[in-house]
Subunit: 692 residues, 2 copies
């Protein structure tokens, strides 16, 4: 045996032990919690040990170092793989006590890896396929940063461990198609090719040739024995050299090492049992008690951290020497507010004088033209509806294969992939992504949008054609329940501005958020400017405000959002002129912001007169604001195909109908005499309204 | 020129004119509406003419003939292609007047094809990818019917026209993987391979080799000149013979034939303009005015209908001669209610005596065991969570490649594909599909679930692990906003049963629906039986009912659903025992059914005492039932990873907390003295509660 052979043998022995440490920590933690997934960490322990031991560049003492490699555990149920490694390489928040508290309340070791909850978790995973699709966004951001700075400052890989589930989910198709197209050469996916899913063999539901599939999408694809460290290492090295994104199919046995259950789907999602674990200790020659790692193995793992720290220190020297240092730090730190506040204030001031009538999607584009001119942090895009969403501006040249200097992404007809890629771009840092589709197709992006909210990422969804106002395309394209769906989602701002001023305000708020994603629900149809106040306070920031106050005592309050504020204003004017009824109009561009106001402000805005809400959407959620004496004008079912104006009339979302319902309401709640002496003429008409 | 050559030449000339008739009807209708998509109908006119003229077996005079070929326009924006053909082959509801009313209110020619709205529309399309994924369900149902009856009774193809968008959407991956795996040899997809999407060339966003991709999934794949009728015909004939599902890439020019705009993405989604259309008439030698088809061309198209009618008549003779006729007609007519009503009544009666404590997902499986034993119309399945959703019973053997006798589908890790396939199975007829996943992953299936509701298909979604009660898997797997999302969807029953009796009731209602899909939100955790009434009335059918009435006058009403009804009952008992406060408990297993009740019943149930609602989900929507004097106990944000019991305590969804909130509420609304003289002791305690 020559020296090189000796080193190799020693490495192999060491890596076998390093991998077995993962296996036993996973087995022990799942057993103690009596909950979790040991099969995947055990199956992928060998391959992932090689990845970390020989390749990955992270520094546990500085988990947010911008040029670190990203490691995404797309098969998030195998979280113990990650927690075990984090313990072994010395993340500060992952002492052994956390492993023994796996899946317990308040522990750092949540059932699935959660971004922001535990150091070094690059993205929340668990809903299958999200990890790989988010990693595509990270790899895009890496390439965009590298195109802006030298490779001395930005030069890292994005590694993904994906399972069969990740590759079966539809989102994986959107992700790999986009990645292959853009030639994201620094994206490397290790597929845990174990042929097992929860129901049993993957033969039950798939016959896909994954290698051929990835190659069809423009990927480099290799297949190796996932338990052969040298083969895995060679494949990763080759993947690093190719000009394409890479798939490495690691042929593994689920629950590898388990005494009797290796290869069985029973190892997937349940504790193995004390007996099996004891037998496995026997079989693998592992003399240690549960939750114990020998100093030699710990030292071997700490080598990973040491290599990472050295790489980080070298990078810092390069950064200090770089002329781009200041700009780099500014971008990574995302100092957006300062850049856009003044231009946006000017924009609002200018338009207040003009009374510009435009669709809010158009207003949004006008705002974006200002924003994108003031900062280069924003990255636009659309799921193949650029001309409809109006997400492109004069500054946003598209990126393309091998060309990452641009600021716009043609995401393709891939709403879900777009959402996940935006999450990845935001997680990577350096950019603020916004992307467009129709509001109705937020259905397709739901999985990723929920993760934006759960992770608290300041991603902005530009969702146009936000009601039956979309018109002829019909009910498949007309949102009805989507505002409710999005408003029900925790930590998601849903903005529905009524005119150009509110649109600018809502963009300003959205771009100022640090931990909350935003939806901008925007109209296809033109809307008049309704906000003519003198002040430059951002009124949308309070969520709702009195757009038009009643003269004297309110008889009724009309609540509305977006395109229906115009209708409410017209109805209020008609109520006053025709019936002498004093109606206030409240515009509610953001329920979430209004919910956060003091009760006193809420009551001041909502008032104690009967309330009528109007929105071209379903009623669900509105009762929160309508209160007891109230009525709702909106949608009760799906839309229809016709010109927008016809639909508004057909579904009764008109000023006429609001007036009629207001009169009915005032009659019903026994406010037959709500009027002052000088307005007594209105009284009769209110009574009459009960007959209609 | 010999006779066969002459016939071929004449066929070619005829088919060219038949195709041009589609082109001009599409151009004219879009022009008149000034809205719509001419590019796709023009590009695919040649290929689809060949498909209809030489292959498709439909009878416009009997659009619902069960053994017809199914034609699915997955690229639904090309609806004028379908409407033009429907006009030309004589569908009764498609006179020329409908084409001139394209995209107008009340017309049969909606912007996108809508199932149930227009004769012969096999499925609603428009949201891209849904068509191809729904067609997979149709093709599965065809194979399942063929496995039950002879090919003399069931032997038809499912044809799909898909665009680039359909193939980019993630759902297409789930669909083609499943179809390839099951070897759905009678599924034929014609892909409109025109290289254009809305933003411009598909080069902007994809480099996918679609043929290689489909082959990787186990499909037969061919590529032909989509404007060469003989090449298209040969490819379809070959596709019919292969033992796999087939893709035919039809290389086409979008807007084919247009004078100057052929090949441009500008023909995709807007009228061409009078000038361009006039020039196109010139170029193609089309002397006819708008909306005119010459008698010769009409006669040629009517040949399609004639061939279909003959095929249908021959089939009817075979059916009459078949010994399976009665069973066949019963299955196609779906007489389910009759088969399951009695067994389910017995089930409920038996369990009323037993007080069975089980998770509602387990109760669901017990009910399914009864249902699947009483009928063989039900087809079960799960998106790889069979053991968790408990959707399999002793009767449901799985189907597999080439074996369609079974009654269970391993849909794979494909929630979206499962939803669409279930839609296709329901649309095909012959079966009642139900399928399971976790409630949180209804996110992934949203696109298809919305179409279930929009089309009014009696598909049943078994959504288990319906709250933080899921426990350790954590917030990614714990639904919070999903009940609101689903309740906001029109025409969708959302059931959340509280115990085994309600679970049986809800299943009975769901299986009895003809035009409404259902969601069964079911618990992971065991729940005690709470319903002990003597009668056998299905109380869940009223949506909500008083489970536990107050003794005498109600001081408070507790509203709850599913797993929280147990908590409400415990709280009510404690309020009574500890404080002398009389609380009624209302179980609300289905809001939609309750909404449909008479106001008098609603008021009787809800009562006029202050109300407190408890549900382990977000509040959005609850105010509708809570009214003005009310409180809510539930979730205000995302969940966490921990054992279920710990989470319920952590988030305060406990009887203790309900009691505390009830006392606060009663204090707040000034009901310090809600009690009768005999219960005066309670008064002080209510007052005390204000201090907590």
């Amino acid at each position: 045996m020559n020296v090189s052979q000796q080193i190799e043998t020693r490495t192999a022995a060491s890596e076998r032990n390093m991998a077995n440490a993962i296996r036993f920590l996973a087995m022990d933690a799942v057993q103690k919690a009596n909950s979790g997934h040991p099969g995947m960490p055990m199956g992928m322990a060998d391959a992932v040990t090689v990845l970390f031991n020989r390749f990955i560049k992270i520094d546990p003492s500085l988990p947010d170092w911008p040029d670190r490699d990203r490691f995404v555990l797309s098969a998030g149920h195998g979280s113990m793989l990650l927690y075990a490694i984090h313990h072994l390489i010395g993340f500060a928040d992952m002492p052994m006590a956390e492993l023994t508290a796996f899946r317990q309340l308040g522990s750092k070791t949540a059932g699935h890896p959660e971004y922001g909850h535990t150091l070094g978790i690059e993205t929340t995973t668990g809903p299958l396929g999200q990890g790989i699709a988010t990693a595509v966004g990270m790899a895009i951001a890496e390439q965009m940063m590298a195109a802006r700075f030298s490779s001395a400052l930005c030069n890292h890989f994005t590694y993904v461990v994906a399972g069969d589930g990740c590759l079966q989910e539809g989102i994986s198709h959107e992700a790999i198609d986009l990645a292959g197209h853009l030639k994201l050469r620094k994206l490397v996916v290790l597929w845990d090719d174990n042929g097992i899913s929860i129901d049993g063999s993957t033969d039950l539901s798939t016959s896909m040739n994954q290698l051929a599939r990835f190659r069809a999408a423009g990927w480099n694809a290799q297949s190796v024995d996932g338990h052969d460290p040298e083969a895995v290492a060679k494949a990763i090295a080759r993947a690093q050299r190719t000009r394409k994104p890479s798939l490495i199919a690691c042929r593994t046995r689920i629950g590898k090492g388990a005494a009797t259950m290796e290869g069985s789907h029973k190892t997937h999602g349940a504790a193995l049992g004390d007996k099996e674990i004891a037998a496995t200790r026997e079989k693998l020659g592992w003399p240690h008690p549960p939750f114990f790692v020998s100093p030699e193995i710990k030292t071997a793992w700490e080598g990973v951290a040491m290599r990472g720290r050295m790489a980080r220190e070298a990078w810092e020297i390069r950064l200090d020497a770089s002329r781009s240092k200041k700009r780099y730090q500014q971008i990574v730190g995302r100092q957006l507010d300062g850049e856009i506040a003044e231009p946006l204030a000017k924009f609002r001031a200018a338009h207040r004088k003009r009374a510009t009538k435009v669709a809010t999607r158009q207003a949004s584009q006008m705002v974006l033209e200002v924003v994108n001119g003031a900062t280069d942090l924003t990255i636009g895009g659309s799921a193949d509806l650029t001309g409809s969403n109006l997400t492109m501006t004069s500054q946003t040249k598209a990126i393309g294969p091998g060309d990452f200097k641009g600021r716009y992404l043609h995401y393709g007809i891939r709403e879900h992939g777009m959402g996940a890629a935006m999450n990845g771009i935001a997680l990577h840092g350096g950019f603020v992504p916004y992307g467009g589709t129709f509001l109705a197709f937020s259905d397709y992006a739901r999985g990723a949008m929920r993760l934006s909210a759960l992770m608290g990422l300041p991603v902005i969804y530009v969702l146009t054609h936000d009601s039956i106002g979309l018109g002829e395309d019909g009910p498949t394209h007309q949102p009805v329940e989507h505002l409710a769906m999005l408003r029900a989602t925790p930590n998601l701002n849903v903005f529905r501005p009524a005119d150009i001023i509110e649109t600018a305000e809502c963009w300003e708020i959205a771009l100022g958020e640090k931990k909350t994603p935003s939806v901008l629900a925007l109209s296809r149809q033109a809307l008049p400017m309704l906000r003519h106040t003198d002040g430059d306070e951002n009124l949308s920031a309070r969520g709702a405000y009195v757009l038009k106050e009643a003269r004297g005592c309110r008889h009724i309050t009309l609540l509305a959002t977006g395109s229906e504020v115009e209708i409410a204003v017209a109805a209020a004017e008609r109520l006053q002129a025709d019936k002498g009824i004093e109606a206030a109009v409240v515009s509610m561009p953001c329920w979430e912001k209004f919910e956060a106001q003091e009760p006193s402000y809420q009551m001041e805005v909502l008032g104690d007169a009967p309330r009528l809400a109007v929105e071209a959407a379903g009623r669900l959620g509105w009762d929160r604001w309508m209160g007891p004496d109230s009525a709702f004008v909106g949608m009760t079912g799906f839309g229809a195909s016709a010109p927008a104006g016809d639909l508004y009339r057909h579904f009764g979302i008109t000023a006429d109908h609001v007036v009629a319902e207001a009169l009915k309401l005032l009659g019903r709640v026994g406010r037959e005499k709500p009027l002052t002496a000088s307005q007594q003429t209105g009284t009769d008409i209110v009574r009459t309204s009960q007959e209609t």
